[in-house]
């Protein structure tokens, strides 16, 4: 059993996630990491925006703050500067963190506030019914692009790196072991750490693109012997030798790491210290 199960709020169950949704796997990994790292969550705050991913902070028995659409990083920045001794984790989605809140992401990265931002990237707006997101790959179908998306998708990790994030990684729901390690490293890191987590919206993205159920979607995240192309927008032409769609063509793991003073350190905030208490 996941040792993190004790961190869940049983009165919030059942959760709202659809059967097969990849978010549950990410939540599972997150509570496992939290349980391993912290004897108590009294000094851990989870801040979220709006969306299916943001909803999961309500399921974890830490200090949790539910905010408006896209603004979680701004709330978290205020929280962290007021209580620099706390570990502040931002849980956001691709629509939340890259669409309506994209501006806050680049500025949090630029400031190098010591926050950990976990972005659940399912390539669509799940909660409102599967609309086109800034992460929807070219040609993919959504409820607002029944003709296929004509725009390009963001590469979230590249964006965060360019904006100044000092730790950038990419994981996927398909590989909980890798994700566990990446979240651990992100929480270890001093400075703005960003983890782009490729997950799945079975209910909308999966259905609209005829990708099958939850397990099929997970399988489509698996790597194959097809060359890693480093361009999200080549999907959906890519197939493995057995004819299965390959969606995750991007590199996984730690993609960027650098050392730069955090905003807290530059401001000389008392109570700010390295690592976790």
């Amino acid at each position: 059993m996941n040792p993190g199960k004790a961190l869940l709020r049983p009165d919030m169950m059942p959760h709202i996630l659809c059967p097969g949704c990849g978010h549950g796997i990410v939540l599972n990994v997150l509570i496992r990491v939290l349980a391993r790292r912290y004897a108590s969550l009294d000094k851990v705050a989870l801040v979220a925006g709006i969306g299916c991913s943001s909803r999961i902070v309500g399921y974890i028995d830490a200090n949790t703050l539910h905010t408006t659409h896209g603004r979680a990083l701004s709330f978290a920045t205020g929280l962290k500067l007021a209580r620099p001794d706390m570990t502040v984790i931002v849980v956001t989605g691709d629509g939340d963190g890259l669409g309506i809140g994209g501006n806050h992401l680049i500025h949090a990265a630029r400031r190098n506030v010591d926050l950990t931002c976990i972005l659940f990237n399912n390539e669509t707006y799940g909660m409102t019914g599967g609309q086109l997101a800034p992460t929807t790959v070219t040609q993919a179908y959504t409820t607002t692009s029944p003709y296929g998306n004509r725009e390009r998708a963001f590469d979230a990790a590249l964006l965060a790196t360019a904006a100044g994030a000092t730790f950038v990684a990419r994981g996927q729901a398909f590989r909980p072991d890798l994700l566990d390690d990446l979240l651990d490293q992100a929480l270890d890191h001093r400075g703005f750490s960003f983890v782009d987590v490729m997950t799945d919206c079975t209910e909308y993205f999966g259905r609209k693109n005829a990708l099958g159920g939850g397990s099929d979607l997970l399988f489509s995240q698996s790597r194959s012997d097809v060359e890693v192309t480093r361009d999200l927008n080549e999907w959906p032409q890519l197939q493995d030798p057995h004819g299965f769609a390959i969606r995750e063509t991007l590199a996984m793991g730690v993609l960027h790491e650098s050392d730069r003073p955090t905003l807290e350190a530059v401001m000389g905030l008392s109570g700010y210290r390295r690592g976790e208490g």
């Binding site: 709006i50 539910h66 607002t144």
Partner: protein, 408 residues
């Protein structure tokens, strides 16, 4: 008296289709065929853009649906498109409208005739996705025309009417069509769709009188010092005031098209009424049923339905309520620290404001049982409701703030 809300006299029943209010708006947009539709998803507006996107994919209209990154961007892109000289519409709700408000003020000041369908929903916090009018009230002073519809058919009709009102040279302002979240956006009702060509002919081709990308260079949105800002505002106020007359003319023309004549302020069985409610939006339908029931018992009650909220038809409201001794104004929004917005608008329009009763109802989608509205009518007739202080109709079993029983 039997009301058949979906059957106007002379209307062919075989032309009926069962659609939601959101689909009704999408059908109107399909028929109007605007050039640009920038939009961002938000509940309960999303069925509008999803239906519209499907229409576009099916080749039924030529609209460019632009999936932008926020409602702020949606209204900004809409202003750009409208000023460039093409017909532009959008849709939003709640927090999305809140984010849009800054730019709606600009749309009004730049005289951009953008029609926005608003799936009226409560504002955070706490976060709530259900219907009330608090979002619309946030935009009430923006300078836009605001309409509130009662059902799916009106959502369809008013989107068409709004387009002509917005684009009338005497108005040239953004128009918001308010349809209550879920109650109207997601409830399916019989609606008679009008023939596409007739709707298209009714709204006519778009022609913006002063396009930014027209033959002459021009400037929109420059800085205004204290010596000119006031004059600009005065002109906006005058343009909005023109909205009443223009609405009435457009509505009269629409009656020829659809067999429905909508009034800016509609009296329902007010003749001889001793007690009346003043309301906007979907619950007017509930109130009409309650009025019918009470009238059949011989009780002199009626309803005043506000369809045009901005500009507020002050003179009409004052006239229609002049002879009614007991009036309650029902607000599906609050204004903490004072009386709620519709109440204040009505109070400023009547000669006996001290006698008005203020009732706040339906916040965050709270149910409004017909029995509670009937109870209000009884309370008014028996003169046992307190005046000029907000009361709360919270649904069964309690109705006031302290969970006290009905005043007896």
């Amino acid at each position: 008296m039997n009301r058949l809300p979906f059957h106007a006299p002379g209307q062919k029943l075989d032309a009926m289709t069962v659609i939601t209010g959101a689909q009704g708006v999408a059908h109107a947009i399909r028929q109007i065929d605007p050039d640009v539709f920038p939009v961002y998803p938000i509940t309960p507006q999303t069925p509008i853009i999803q239906t519209l996107s499907q229409f576009v994919a099916d080749g039924l209209c030529h609209t460019h649906v632009l999936d932008v990154e926020s409602e702020h961007s949606a209204m900004s892109a809409a202003i750009g498109a409208a000023l460039a000289g093409v017909r532009t519409m959008t849709a939003t709700a709640s927090q999305g409208l809140a984010l849009m408000v800054e730019v709606i003020y600009l749309a009004a000041s730049m005289r951009a005739p953008i029609v926005t369908a608003v799936g009226n929903r409560a504002l955070s916090g706490p976060i709530n996705i259900h219907g009330d009018h608090s979002d619309a009230m946030l935009a009430r002073d923006s300078g836009a025309v605001q309409l509130f519809v009662e059902n799916a058919e009106e959502a369809y009709h008013f989107t068409i009417i709004a387009t002509r009102v917005a684009e009338d040279p005497r108005v040239l302002l953004p128009v918001m069509v308010g349809l209550d979240g879920f109650t109207i956006t997601h409830s399916a009702e019989p609606v008679a769709l009008l023939p596409d060509e007739r709707v298209r002919a009714f709204v006519g081709p778009y022609s913006y009188p002063y396009p930014l990308l027209g033959p002459e260079v021009g400037t929109y949105g420059p800085f205004a010092m204290p010596d000119s800002y006031f004059e600009c505002k005065r002109q906006q106020i005058a343009a909005l005031e023109n909205g009443l007359e223009v609405f009435e003319q457009v509505s009269a023309a629409f009656a020829d098209l659809a067999g429905r004549h909508y009034l800016a302020v509609e009296p329902y069985r007010l003749a001889g009424a001793q007690a009346a409610l003043v309301m906007m939006g979907s619950h007017c339908g509930t109130a009409k049923d309650v009025v019918d029931g009470l009238r059949s018992q011989g009780l002199p009650v009626g309803l005043l339905q506000i369809r045009l909220y901005r500009p507020f038809p002050r003179e009409m409201v004052g006239r229609l309520l002049a002879d009614i001794p007991q009036v309650a104004v029902l607000d599906k929004a609050s204004s903490p620290g004072t009386l709620p917005p519709l109440f204040l608008d009505v109070a400023a329009s009547v000669s006996h404001p001290r006698q008005l009763v203020s009732v706040i109802y339906g916040l965050g989608g709270r149910d409004v049982p017909a029995a509670d509205l009937a109870g209000l009518y009884h309370g008014l007739l028996e003169q046992r409701l307190p005046q000029a202080t907000p009361w709360y109709l919270k649904g069964r079993p309690a109705w006031d703030e302290e969970d006290e029983p009905w005043p007896t």
